[in-house]
Amino acid sequence: MKLLDIIEEVKIGKRINREEGLSLLQKVELLDFGELANEIRYRKNPKQQVTFVVDTNPNYTNICNIDCIFCAFYRHPGEAGEYTYSVDEMIRNFKTAAANGVTTVLLQGGVNPALPFDYYLELVKRTIEEVPEVHPHFFSTSEIIGMSQASEFTIQEVLRKLWDAGLRTIPGGGAEILSDRVKKKISHLKGTSDDWLNVMLEAHKIGYKTTATMMYGHLETDEDIIEHLEVIRQLQDEYHGFTAFIPWSFKPGNTPLHKIIPTYASSTRYLQILALSRIYLDNFDHIQASWFSEGKKIGQVALHFGADDFGGTLYEENVHAEADFVNKTTVAEVIQLIQDSGFTPVQRDTLYNTLKIFEKAEAM
């Protein structure tokens, strides 16, 4: 099909297929992409508003036996710099965050085989009891698979027990690129694309809400990116369990993958992929801009390329920091960044409920 026809289809709200998506990705010029993505963004969310969440991103352990070659964060058991915090220590951490206005704790860690399943359950339970101000948004798919392997519960049972403990949402990290060809190269121990999708599917069945992510800019092809979007769109059709999609680019510093991919993916590429996601994922309510990985300035530009959410304020963050990639912000700054981009900032919770609208006068 001709490019102009695909563009017309998108404009009238038709779903595009793999081939059409690939055509767009490879042929559409940057601003035409933005225009198209905006059509859909404003159809789904007509308000000139952008949401953000006040969150923190701590880690309970950096011990991991998965050895992903894009990861600068993990340590092997016994290696210098390794750590595992007790539940008490984590609760203290969350309390400090809550005192600073944090409403969401996005908690992830390495896959540490020495931790008993009870540790995780206790972490969830005690967070809900002792730090009710925060919403636990805990554990990536890799950790859930790890819990299943260490405990001999099925994935479904693990998820069910975590649900019973009070967990309601799960972060969508660990998807990287849902292509087994690429996964074999960058994270051969991590499990296949199906493993990630399966955890998400089981979670959505139970009633969890999760996000979906994509990390590009390493060994993937354009086709891999399209495939990634395609499979999560299919899954979303079944239970509508994804709240948002978050693409970001790989940051090579301090990782073994650095040798193969020495440079950052370009900002133009990011905006194209973001716009393509908005167009392709017609069953997703929100697309998140990643100011943290792309920089604040490009984060602002992203809001004009289909994103309607600015992500979290990240009170604490260690994973990227280990790759020497450090971006810090404050709630006041996030509000300012969104306003400067031409939008009204809206503070939300993990489930995208509005907590506070910052009209101009209320800017901090």
Partner: protein, 631 residues
């Protein structure tokens, strides 16, 4: 692809742009205030593409800051030191030369204003660089420094510039403009020269044949109106002299420079925010592209914008990304986050990432190297519009258009950096071995109106006289020389001129081509009473058309690509021929032609290479071979 405007207020502005109309201050305000930055960017990209196609220019340059000692103490400057302060430095000419390497094509010199340097020292820097590195164009001293020299050394501004020019200065940087309103000047830059002084220095430079850049420092206390007033003042000055090469919006770098940004300003009165927002950066680039209709290039200065934003800016109207830059003290001391030096490869990558053609240039924007595949050259004159106008992006097989003066196109083709193009006939003759002729051309029937000799004397009277000759193409020059030698039997002294920059009055006749010739054919050229149309001279003599340019592609181009190319040319031409007045309208308007004049002009050409045209090519070649003196 069509435009869809989220902000309907942009629609009347878009209409104006399509008709090549100039925007007003009110239009500028609408643009600055819109939230539809995609449509704003698309409009700016449209205008930029008309000017430079897919080209994004960069220069291998070295920035030299010869000293940080300065008698002034401007508020925002973290760079200047007083003599005797621990980190004050003053470079000797030898120090400076040691910073320059042979591949550098432009040396950019600015610095503080020390109390005790002699005039000769400044001249010496320029002279020595020029002598030792003749390949490098010297771009030196901002208007503020020129004014300082004028006062300190008691020389007129013109004299200062003349002496620098004869020492080897080619162009001047645009720093020191800040914001052209007295309100801002009084509050922030009371020691700077202000709009009047700045423009006087630049206009004087232009009249001497020194092109310059111009700048605007935004993101401090200025209002949006003040930004637009600034742009409009530059636009007016450019109408007078035409000497500005590029406009560079400079984002204010707060650091700890002592300006706290107040309320009511364009940047909204923020205390904690450090840098301009990306949206403001992109808007400012786009708005300047749209307001400054008479300045050819808009520069995205990556050192201040960050690489990421600079790359995006290349789709928002910017067509220059500056250079490789050596020392960047002023911006860096105030906390700019970009790395100190971007290697050439990285610049090329930034430009390619944006989907554009990286073009390495010299100080005058002459392309030196093109780093991309699938590039087609386009002569940037009105008469070539029919070949390109109806080229649909998606139908063009991924070819990218690079507008480039004919002579440069020949050069790039010789370097193997173009797939195809509409070549000046001389270049085709020269590269016949590697080029394949395609069946299209620009040939005249009897007259052309755009290859003109403006003269103070009749043909016979030109014997022994000085003729200024455009350096844009060889074909017209050779045609002139054939006419002079074989038809009129006179000998002249040819000298190169840069159209629009040189003072023509120093010549007895000038040969102009393209838009410049077309313009002066209509309005006349002061002091030159006689006007000769070279195509008419040729026709009266030979009774043949004259072929100025032919389409050709690389012989190595694959069959498939060649078919795509032919398809593109013939489709565009056929569509264009239906209405030549309309397709040339906005281009014609820029050089002062009415729709009918444009139509008549374009109808005067034959765009297909027929029998007569081929015969004319042969005849011209024969005369060239017989000719004894080569220009």
């Amino acid at each position: 692809m069509t435009f869809s405007f989220r902000d309907k207020q942009l629609i009347p502005i878009w209409r104006k742009l399509q008709h090549g109309e100039r925007l007003s201050l009110e239009d500028g305000l609408v643009l600055f205030k819109t939230n539809d930055i995609i449509a704003l960017g698309k409009m700016a990209n449209f205008v930029q593409q008309q000017k430079s196609g897919y080209a994004v220019y960069f220069v291998l340059n070295q920035k030299i800051e010869h000293t940080n000692v300065c008698v002034l103490s401007c508020k925002f400057c973290d760079f200047a030191k007083k003599k005797g302060e621990p980190d004050a430095y003053e470079m000797t000419t030898e120090n400076i030369l040691a910073h320059i390497t042979p591949e550098i094509r432009e040396v950019h010199i600015t610095g503080g204003m020390p109390p005790d340097w002699k005039w000769e020292r400044y001249l010496d820097i320029v002279r020595k660089i020029h002598e030792k590195f003749p390949e490098a164009d010297v771009k030196a001293y901002t208007a503020v420094e020129i004014d300082f020299f004028h006062k300190k050394f008691k020389l007129s501004i013109e004299e200062v510039l003349k002496q620098l020019q004869s020492a080897g200065l080619r162009t001047m940087p645009g720093g020191g403009a800040e914001i052209f309103t007295e309100r801002v000047r009084k509050l922030l830059f009371p020691q700077k020269i202000g709009a009047k002084g700045y423009l006087e220095v630049h206009k004087t430079a232009h009249k001497l044949g020194i092109p310059t850049n111009c700048t605007m420092l935004y993101g401090h206390i200025e209002t949006l109106e003040e930004r637009l007033i600034h742009m409009i003042k530059l636009r007016e000055a450019q109408d007078e002299t035409g000497g500005f090469l590029s406009f560079i919006p400079l984002a204010f770098q707060p650091g700890d420079t002592g300006i706290s940004v107040g309320d009511g300003s364009a940047s909204g009165g923020k205390s904690h925010r450090q840098f301009t927002s990306a949206i403001d950066d992109l808007k400012t680039i786009a708005v300047s592209r749209l307001m400054l209709d008479n300045i050819s290039h808009i520069k995205a200065y990556w050192v201040m914008l960050t690489e990421e934003v600079a790359s995006v800016a290349l789709n928002f109207g910017a067509d220059d990304i500056d250079g490789t830059v050596g020392q960047e003290r002023i911006a860096h001391d105030a906390g700019a986050v970009s790395p100190m030096k971007l290697a050439k490869d990285q610049i090329i990558k930034i430009i390619k990432d944006a989907g554009k053609i990286p073009v390495e240039r010299d100080a005058f924007y002459n392309p030196l190297n093109v780093y991309s595949e699938n590039v087609i050259g386009k002569i940037p004159y009105l008469n070539s519009v029919p070949f390109y106008h109806n080229r649909e992006k998606s139908a063009a097989g991924g070819f990218k258009i690079l507008p480039v003066a004919p002579r440069r196109m020949g050069m790039l083709s010789k370097q193997g950096q173009l797939d195809a193009g509409l070549f000046s006939l001389m270049d085709y003759f020269e590269q016949e071995e590697s080029l394949e002729l395609l069946p299209w051309c620009i040939a005249t029937r009897d007259q052309v109106k755009s290859v003109m000799l403006f003269s103070k004397e009749g043909w016979a009277g030109l014997n022994g006289k000085k003729i200024g000759i455009t350096d844009e193409t060889a074909t017209s020059v050779q045609l002139l020389s054939v006419l002079l030698e074989n038809k009129y039997r006179v000998q002249v002294i040819p000298e190169r001129l840069h159209p629009g920059v040189n003072d023509y009055s120093m010549f007895d006749a000038v040969l102009l081509i393209g838009d410049e010739a077309l313009k002066h054919n209509k309005i006349g050229l002061n002091g030159f009473e006689l006007v000769f149309d070279l195509a008419k001279e040729w026709y009266d003599w030979q009774k043949l058309p004259f072929v100025f340019a032919v389409w050709a592609c690389r012989k190595a181009l694959s069959g498939e690509r060649r078919e795509e190319l032919k398809e593109m040319i013939s489709t565009s031409l056929e569509k264009s021929e239906v209405n030549l007045g309309i397709i040339g309208y906005s281009h014609g308007k820029k050089i002062g032609l009415t729709k009918n004049e444009t139509k008549e002009y374009l109808e005067g050409f034959n765009y297909r290479l027929g029998e007569q045209e081929r015969k004319a090519m042969m005849q011209f070649r024969k005369l060239l071979e017989q000719k004894e003196i080569k220009i």
